[in-house]
Symmetry: C2
């Protein structure tokens, strides 16, 4: 598989973009005409730089406003094309993208359009240039890939083919299955973009909200399957217009983009029953192995875990690391991280085959995380997620367990028994999409629908990534741009949160203060449905409550330690959410106590 990317996806100037594409491992690029026009370097210099970087120039794009115009207008179009052919020769580019006319077209007759496309191809031929004609979703007369292909067939030139763009096809809801009716060798180019499901005009959607494959809601695996089955063997190229990516670090975005193609190719090859040999099968996690909190001084976290009812299981025999457990929930406190505020530094996942999971993540371009390990210690393989949090994989087998490395802990277990229910992770705006792709590809989690939670300083976008059975849940939040360092919290699920809350209070745990008005509202909403006395218990123990039909969710929050806090949750009768309705109350209370 060859990979390519349009320079318009990235920030910076053309030279910076090309360097980042090469560093990220792309084989080629689409040169955007506007990027070249704004560049100080001549086309010859760009060509030479691409040669040195071993990047092919797979496409020169876009050339607009060609077909369906009056004869005198078309004459000027040919003149403009000759200028651009000259630029392409200087660049060494041999394929020109022509978009269907969204501006100057006045004649909707297919014969006119085909004649003019044919004439353009004839003008390109002496230069050794071929024309890839694409239907824009908002083209004046041509906005369907099947129509674009009919015009290419009608014009019938050896150097005229079509370009397929997943956005233009899927955003209009056109069935991609008919792609298989197009001969593979006439598909000159393939542009890939994902997008969130948004109900807005297609031009704004396209210009601002495209995403890399795996981050949106388009069925791109099916789409690419059709293209490959049609016999297309050219590069998979990304053309993603997105306000965020245009502003973020160019190298990071290019690496992120490259990972999205690896994921897409892998999934598509798997679905087609091919094996491309690069990326193994997905290892869906079966639970949290542990969650690690790092920081320079974590005594306050030790105290809070103790008060929550966790058991102190001792210190690591070779590192300044401590272990606390509550049944199957394991929290590691790591004071090796000396220069940081207290934060979630690692998440361990249990998977059927840890080596396979790690290898797959590395093949998908996730950077390997390194920690020193001593003889006799369990080696866990880990990758760094986009925000720096390390993800570890472990097998479920008892001999792969690492608890015995901790010594000097309590013999008698504390009162709390549970499992890690979810880890809630906040991201700054420029890391969010990348993190979603990482969770979907490297961690093999699946998205729930996006929701929005109002906070005291703006709406939070929230996207839960989880396993189907709910054994691993990562609610991921996009913090507003003015928010400080995003908070993260670790939620422990237990069987009796009322009992846990009472014990924690009597152990002196300072709980988050919940306003009385909140309980009045819970009474207004659910008072008649709740078991007698429960509301008073909630109020007395600073507990939050949610209800969905008969299912109930009762939960409480600790105070914040650096950027971390803890939640205890009880899910009754299959409650499957996260108590989002109370999030504004919780955030306001945290803001008051900060």
């Amino acid at each position: 598989m060859r990979t390519s990317i349009a320079t318009v996806c990235l920030s910076g100037d053309l030279v910076q973009k090309l360097r980042a594409c090469a560093d990220a491992g792309f084989d080629g690029v689409e040169i955007m005409d506007a990027d070249l026009i704004a560049a100080d370097e001549s086309p010859e210099e760009i060509r030479a730089l691409c040669d040195r970087l071993r990047l092919t120039i797979d496409l020169f794009q876009p050339f607009r406003d060609v077909e369906g115009v009056a004869p005198d207008v078309f004459e000027r179009t040919l003149r403009r094309a000759e200028s651009k052919f000259a630029v392409m020769r200087r660049l060494g580019a041999t394929t020109m993208l022509v978009c269907s006319n969204a501006g100057t077209a006045t004649d909707g007759d297919d014969a006119t359009a085909a004649r003019q496309l044919g004439a353009l191809a004839d003008a390109a031929a002496p230069h050794g240039i071929r024309i890839a004609y694409e239907a824009l979703a908002w083209g004046r007369f041509v906005n369907d890939y099947r129509h674009a292909w009919r015009l290419v067939e009608l014009a019938d030139r050896p150097n005229l083919g079509t370009c397929l763009d997943s956005f233009h096809i899927l955003s209009r809801g056109h069935d991609p299955a008919e792609i298989e009716d197009i001969p593979g060798e006439k598909i000159y180019f393939l542009q890939l973009a994902d997008a969130p499901s948004l109900d807005m005009d297609v031009l704004s959607w396209s210009r601002h909200h495209r995403l890399f494959p795996g981050e949106g809601s388009f069925a791109l695996v099916d789409f690419l399957g059709h293209v490959w089955r049609a016999g297309y063997d050219g590069p998979l190229s990304l053309e993603v217009f997105n306000d965020t990516f245009r502003q973020t670090d160019v190298s990071r975005t290019a690496a992120h983009a490259r990972r999205s193609l690896a994921w897409l190719a892998d999934r598509t090859a798997a679905q087609l029953g091919w094996d491309d040999g690069q990326v193994g099968g997905a290892q869906v996690p079966t639970g949290f192995d542990f969650v690690e909190v790092g920081g320079a001084a974590l005594d306050d976290v030790d105290q809070a875990l103790g008060q929550l009812g966790f058991t102190f299981r001792g210190r690591h025999r070779s590192k300044p690391v401590r272990l606390w457990t509550a049944g199957d929930a394991r929290i590691i406190l790591n004071e090796q991280v000396r220069d940081q505020t207290t934060r979630v530094t690692g998440v361990g996942l249990t998977v059927p085959d840890a080596d396979a999971a790690a290898e797959r993540a590395f093949a998908l371009g996730a950077p390997q995380a390194y920690r020193r390990t001593y003889t006799g210690e369990q080696v866990l393989r880990a990758a760094a997620s986009p925000d720096g949090t390390e993800v570890y994989w472990n097998d479920p087998s008892p001999e792969k367990d690492w608890e015995s490395e901790f010594i000097g802990g309590e013999d008698r277990p504390g009162p709390l028994r549970g499992v890690v229910d979810h880890v809630n992770i906040g991201y700054p705006w420029h890391e969010f999409e990348e993190a979603l792709l990482f969770a979907g590809s490297a961690l093999a989690l699946t998205p729930e629908p996006v929701s929005e939670v109002p906070g005291p300083m703006g709406l939070l976008r929230s996207q839960v990534m989880r396993t189907a059975d709910g054994s691993v849940r990562l609610p991921m939040n996009l913090a507003p741009p003015t928010a400080p360092v995003p908070w993260r919290h670790i939620a422990i699920r237990c069987a009796d949160v009322l009992d846990a809350a009472r014990r924690a209070r009597s152990a002196g745990l300072p709980l988050l203060q919940v306003p009385d008005n909140y309980y009045d509202d819970i009474d207004a909403q659910f008072g008649d449905l709740m078991e007698p006395g429960l509301l008073d218990e909630l109020r007395e123990n600073h507990l939050f409550y949610d209800r969905d039909g008969d299912a109930e969710f009762i939960h409480l929050y600790s105070q914040v330690h650096g950027s971390v806090f803890f939640e205890l949750v009880e899910r009754r009768r299959g409650y499957d959410g996260y108590g989002a309705a109370s999030a504004p109350v919780r955030m306001a209370a945290q803001r008051r106590s900060a």
Copy 2:
């Protein structure tokens, strides 16, 4: 006129919001239930605080999911309502907003809906509470204000009326003229919001993109005219959900919100032929009086203006201020601003009546700007715009001129003659809407359609505010969030920019370097239409070019001084734009030379 605002418009906690509303001069507030629920203060405390701040609680909102439900569901609704009535009594609130059912409605029969609304009103009556029923644009069965009013009529209760919300009515394209058919005393409340013209689903549009009156494209003056003619005499209240305002400083947003109502009431009263006596008529400017550049050391700007062909007109007789002119274009350099990077600090506008313009701006809530003036000096009245730039007004009469305060300048005029064509102003994201409202209300400028300009670090949103005749133009740009301090530039229009460019070059002005690729593209686009030799002249003199039909625009840029640069422009045959197509090339070149 009484003014009110929904607490949901603002950031922070409820107490902060209330204080900001009072400081901004609002008479009352709509208390959002969610804000109260998240508040630590009891309803009694909030009531007492509002009393002390002299804020009335005009509305408690929203109460949802009332009408069109099954009888057992409605029974639970009444129970929930009783709880909220109790909260309202504690608050001292007497009007409850009920939104049309967008969630639980299953029965679309008007009789059912009217019966249930009537029953709710009956339950409210003993508490002295009245119900204001509003059609949400996305209500399940009721999404038109006329339908909501029919149900209110059908239910026919003395304490049941309707609430009108400009967003819900205008976003659906419903004709507001029929508001006049509703008796004024049955319009219990009026919520006002503006919005940009966007083609997206109405729920997202409403939740994220509402604007304060005067900032969007709704015909709110007409809308309010209908409401007033119907006989409504309650408060004008703002309900604006907007991601930006929820994150910006609460006091500033509240002041900004209050200004938008003053503007709207003023415009509406004027249109109805009423005179509310608060705000005088708009003074449309007839030209730029001057532009002021401030900074600690401006020698480099002196040099650049001299090289551009400006005439040095001397130093101010009492201040460290210098004047440069080029025909009618006047640029003041002010070194009193000692702690700042070089920036545009003031803009002077010529208006028919300067005092009236200033009084109007102050009545619209613009803060007065103060500068020390000595005996015998011309006093110009000024207001501070939202970003701190001072705006001065001057009369066109010669005796009001201030040039004679500058002494020791050149006798012989320099070669450049022109006028200030436009001042291009960049804003950070949180100041943009406020600046648009200021330009539209206090400066009496009119918006052109919004455009988007791709820059090397993301798309720039651009909105030109101008007079109809083009004598004053302020292109206002929204910089991407990662951009550094926004740049601003001053464009001087002259009759022969080629000549000016040649002179400036021979005077040694370092011009912005324009890449060769740009001229190749201009040739491709327009080479056959341009006069012979022009392309070579452009290339030689670092000039930019645009064309619209036969109209041409030729312009050049100076280097950047702090955050300021200069542009010389020539408009041929009525060119009316700003050369936006070349902006990416210009920005990339500036980035290279930075």
